[in-house]
Amino acid sequence: MQRIGVFVCWCGSNIAAAVDIETVVQAMKSEPGVVYSTDYQYMCSEAGQGKLKDAVKEHGLTGIVICACSPRMHEATFRNAAKAAGVNPYMVEIANIREQCSWIHRDRAEATAKAVVLSRTAVAKVNLNTPLTPGTSDVVKRALVIGGGIAGLQSALDIAEAGYQVDIVEKQPTIGGKMAQLDKTFPTLDCAACILTPKMVDAAQHENIRIYTYSEVEQVSGFVGNFSVRIRGKARSVKADICSGCGLCMEKCPSKKAKDEFNMGLNNRRAIYIPFAQAIPNVPVIDREQCIKFKTGKCGLCARVCPADAVDFEQQDSIIEERYGAVVLATGFHTLSLEHYDEYQYARQPDVITSLELERIMNAAGPTGGKLLRPSNGKAPKSVVFVQCVGSRDTTGCGKTYCSKICCMYTAKHAMLIREKYPEVDVSVFYIDVRTPGKNFDEFYRRAVEDYGVRYIKGMVGKVVPEKGRLLVRGSDLLDDSQVALEADLVVLASAVEADASAKGLATLLTASIDTNNFYTEAHPKLKPVESPTAGVYLSGVCQGPKDIPETVAQASAAAVKVVGLLSKDKLLSNPCIARADELLCSGCSNCEHVCPYGAVSYIEQELRIHGRNQIRRIAKVNEAICQGCGACTVVCTSGAMDLRGFSNSQIMAEVDALCR
């Protein structure tokens, strides 16, 4: 018989306001096995945990029930407290009377009654708990970073500097990501390439870093400390090891009609190309959909002119299989496609552009050589109008419900840069709110207004109307309650930031969770911001939510520290809540072996002593290092031999009984 102590937490007023604590405490006193029942304002506090430890000593407790917040919040806390008090950590159960009771039920009597039921269910379970000891597993001392933008590069560099091996997988032909496309960065206006490209070179030259560009993660298995990953390296059609990067192939390529993705489609590139001059690796790739050789079989000019004989039309995808101890997700973002915002005429009017397109236009290496020119006719604009929040803060399903966070600042930057270089150009910004929290950010925005004469109009644009070769921007000015119509030559839309399309698939591969916007969910919004709820998977950059560069870099380094902390361990404690087959009950049917998603069950021949005689039996054996504890095998076991520790058949039955009592 257990000696159970019940501890009901008030959580300040979070629980106590809706649940009558005293009723719960008293009700638990008559539950089987309970020898002590009490309450405290904050059980998770030092004093609360002290109370628990004292009670263990005083009442000789063997089992503990905490009636408090979700086990996802503090289960580990109370298990550690139990351990410190000399009780096996797996003799602790949590009754979730906050998230699943006090926070959702207004009626005090109803909430109290439910809290009693949830608590006695936990007591019923603890009565059948058994002490469990985690096993250990080895840690592979190598990390995988998925995404080679500034977030992935920073994480990789920090991990590599700490002395561990890192692989970067990037799906584009070069590393660098979105930051490589930017012109200047706020609020200091330093050139993006000048601060990014040295980092790219550092990563490429680091002895601990391997870079797989034009590659994607295809399959993941395993768990924290030991992930097995299959990476597909797409065929570049150019042998990277012998290409000298001379660029002759690109010069001679006759296929010139592909949209240049790096320049946001504002100009064309060849079918064999490198995305930009500082690309790493400096090895071209053949776009097989555009290449005349691939389309018609005739051409092959690039192969003929290549002095190194590096062009290889027959090249196949390569498959890399590698094991990793930790994975960093740094898949970044793209900007929202604007098909639901046709009132701004983005699809119809070449002079309506997105902010990222403007970055390329302003960039000295961009399609206009850094001159501010209208895409429609290549002439200099006299007036530029910016529209904020295009697709952000939209609850109608057309856009994104969240604030994209970076638009206010980059728009101020764009407006300021235009006014500085072209003082004769009028610049106006339609805004709903200007959001500039951040070091020197508001000062930056105010400089745009006060020193550079950018006109900020509080209001939104209803429609962009092409008129007489210009664009009439029809908006509202809410501060003087008027409609305004501005004539513009260029309209720049701050389109919403959106999680990269690859995020969802990777979430499935890694069983990392994503939110409704396909941003990766962190393990705890405040206290574990760079960990995914899946152990061994970490989050870096915009893939977790919109961020600017400084924040991205900070988070990337934070994720790296977590990875380093993990890789510095030689062994990891594994989850002891795993399956076990009772050898005397096992009938050797193999059902469990077939159903196990991990291949953790195998069959062995074993000599058993049954009814006083030795017999050789074929029985199931669970590999404890591989079993993840899903419990699929327990249900298919016809003889009832297979059970799951921590969630055993009898424990769950007892819970059902207590809940329905």
Binding site: Y341, D342, E343
Partner: protein, 260 residues
């Protein structure tokens, strides 16, 4: 293909040409329009108040009749289409409106929103196909530069009407192209002409209508087409412009091109 056809009151009076040309063209195209026996006026304005049940009933009756005939309900007038389509949407999505409306209905079987409401243009696009229409044209309107005037009622709210992209529609332009003419895209083609208030706010209605005309003229239209009798009236009668800009019903030009 047979459709139940809801003409609406204006198509029996002032906009007779919209109706008659529509019927002639449909017949020529092998589309049978079966006019509902006892249709009542849709009310011309969609009742925005959630508590207005009576103004929804004539639409529900028409919809239920089409359901009983197991046919789609075809409309031609933009206003009728708007009202009937939105009431159908209410019946499908608003339990209260569905139950109350049905309590006033005579039929045995409650109407649950089963009927599909199809506009004449949608029929041309989805049932016949604009490519096929092009093949059937006898007298292509070659050389005509036509501005499509969508107005508001066919397009908005886009989520309910799901007629076309409300900010960048293309169905009428495809229609014009199929007739052999050249579509003129002008920015006010989906802005309101102000027809709704033409009776008591003549000046305002005239100003909004004139904006549409000016925009179409600036972009080089010779004429406008519309599916709405109220728009046609307001633009044609109240709108003022520097140059003459005739307004036709979609079916008028269709009949002309089909030579019926």
């Amino acid at each position: 293909m047979v459709f139940d056809y809801y003409p609406g009151c204006t198509l029996k009076t002032e906009a007779r040409e919209l109706d008659e040309a529509g019927r002639r063209s449909a017949a020529a195209l092998g589309i049978e329009l079966q006019e509902l026996d006892a249709w009542q006026c849709c009310g011309a304005v969609y009742p925005l108040g959630r508590d207005e049940i009576a103004p929804r009933l004539s639409s529900v009756r028409a919809l239920a009749a089409a359901r009983d005939h197991r046919r789609d309900l075809l409309t031609l007038c933009s206003a009728c289409h708007h009202v009937i389509k939105r009431v159908n949407h209410d019946i499908r999505t608003d339990e209260k409106i569905r139950d109350t409306a049905n309590s006033y209905m005579e039929g045995e079987q409650a109407y649950q929103g089963e009927t599909k409401v199809v506009h004449y243009l949608e029929m041309l696009r989805d049932t016949l196909g604009f490519d096929e229409l092009k093949n059937r044209i006898k007298k292509p309107l070659t050389g005509m530069k036509i501005g499509a005037y969508y107005g508001c009622l066919l397009l908005r709210p886009g989520k309910v009407m799901s007629f076309d992209n409300p900010e960048n529609p293309s169905i009428m332009e495809s229609f014009i192209t199929a007739l052999g003419a050249e579509p003129v895209i002008y920015p006010y083609r989906n802005e309101c002409c102000g027809g709704y208030i033409t009776v008591k706010e003549k000046d305002q209605a005239a100003r909004t209508a004139s904006r549409v005309i000016d925009s179409a003229l600036e972009h080089g239209a010779d004429c406008l087409i519309t599916a709405c009798p109220l728009c046609l009236y307001n633009i044609d009668v109240n709108g003022t412009s520097s140059k003459d800009l005739p307004v036709y019903y979609i079916t008028q030009l269709l009949a002309q091109a089909l030579d019926v």
